[in-house]
Symmetry: D2
Subunit: 154 residues, 4 copies
């Protein structure tokens, strides 16, 4: 099994955040990891697009009851019907989490990841704990998560 890396962040994204999330997705795929997101738009879509551009596999953990809710870059849509409760599945399934800007949903994912001991790397996201690793670039963010899960990637 390949490692699975989560990218979390807002369901809408500014052009800058979209570009950053896309680059994170590219790096995740290049590092040989599967990308997992909440399957919708904004940061989730940007990261998924990036991962597909590098030949990666994209899992989307959808909140609703239809696979049609997935953004066009999702390979494996998981239809949970759990609403925001699906955030927990994203974090549990990933070996580490990269957080981009987002609102309270993103904060809940960061909090839950910290609670269950998943490494969290932030690229411009919530700064609520010294346990969150701060990164400045997409490359650095992915390098940090791969190092933390014992799969170093240059």
């Amino acid at each position: 099994m390949k490692p699975i890396i989560a990218v979390v962040g807002g369901s809408t994204a500014s052009p800058e955040v979209y570009a950053a999330a896309r680059e994170v997705g590219q790096e995740v795929a290049s590092a040989g990891a599967v990308l997992i997101t909440g399957g919708l738009g904004g940061v989730m879509e940007a990261a998924s697009q990036g991962a597909k551009e590098k030949g990666g596999t994209v899992v989307g953990i959808l909140p609703g009851f239809s696979r049609k809710d997935a953004n066009p870059y999702v390979d494996i849509p998981i239809v949970t019907g759990l609403g925001d409760g699906r955030n927990m599945l994203i974090v549990q399934t990933a070996q580490a989490v990269i957080a981009l800007p987002g609102e309270y949903g993103t904060l809940s994912e960061i909090a839950f990841a910290l609670k269950i001991g998943r490494p969290v790397v932030s690229l411009g996201s919530w700064k609520v704990s010294a346990d969150i690793i701060q990164a400045k670039t997409a490359k650095e963010a992915v390098r940090e998560v791969m190092k933390r899960i014992g799969k170093p990637h240059p």
Copy 2:
């Protein structure tokens, strides 16, 4: 149906925090609301004890698969088997949330409550957003939540 107020916080509590949570539970019951917690120890147990002392009803949303996990003050143990995912049910079921000191689990509950628009009153808990109402005493915390849900209590 009576209003339902959630009290969230750590599963262990210092004597000071325990006393504060117990008083919050007493006030919730005195205000005519049902108390809902995660059903375990620490802040959850303290608030439940307080609510029972004032003749209130206590619902415990348990993470595991056995009602025996509930603290002794729970009237209605809901056995979810959802692990920490049960936090979402606590917040969704309550009309408002009172947060006491706790760690990342508490933070995830606060974040989720803010996400779905439940008023959050903090009594010494995480200060991560201006949307959180800060209270200084148990009485003030309960007065604030009852006011926000349109059931003012003196």
Copy 3:
């Protein structure tokens, strides 16, 4: 903590089934147990009405995101947002299950109850296993479940 008994069945009910479910609810309350249902109409509402008529407590495990979905006899609405996944919580929370006529949702609840070892008493519901106890009247159904959970009721 009082025992909790689940009543499951269709969300619509013929007058005969409604009357039977209502009597089951009355008997559950008279036996000193809390009633738990899926909180909506049909069999769920009938049993809830019966339980309230005898001064019982009624828990409704709602599939959606609003307490307003509950039938008027629910005291404690639990807002799960889990869709039909909430069926599992009903069965896990109850010490035993009484099944009335219903469709595939009811069958899934019976199957899940049998899987986790909850006694299932059927009053005109699915006959898919010899592990299901068949009852002919509401009184008999409640007597059977109370006996199985070690709380005999005449």
Copy 4:
């Protein structure tokens, strides 16, 4: 997105059932569909092995909190922590379900699939409804499901 087909059945399997499930997995992969199962042993493992033998992709929706619970043929382990509640996610995520012999857990998956309108093809599994399509061979089972989801496979 490729179609996703669920295979459900017991977590232990006789040699005959194991062989049948493995052949079903092979056929699912050959038909160009992703296989989804509960990720554990028995029928789930057999189908997963078969799918991998034909170069398919295998998703395992795990009940617990660790990816290590997955059988060795799972490519994408989804860590739900939902216990048997994860059965619902399997059925919701799939466009159709093939049921092999199993006990009450399998029955709950069949019931839930029928409830939400997923075609169910049985290969020696529970016969509780005329809505279940009966198949005699692995090939026939997969041909039936692919036909029902509008992706005919010879």
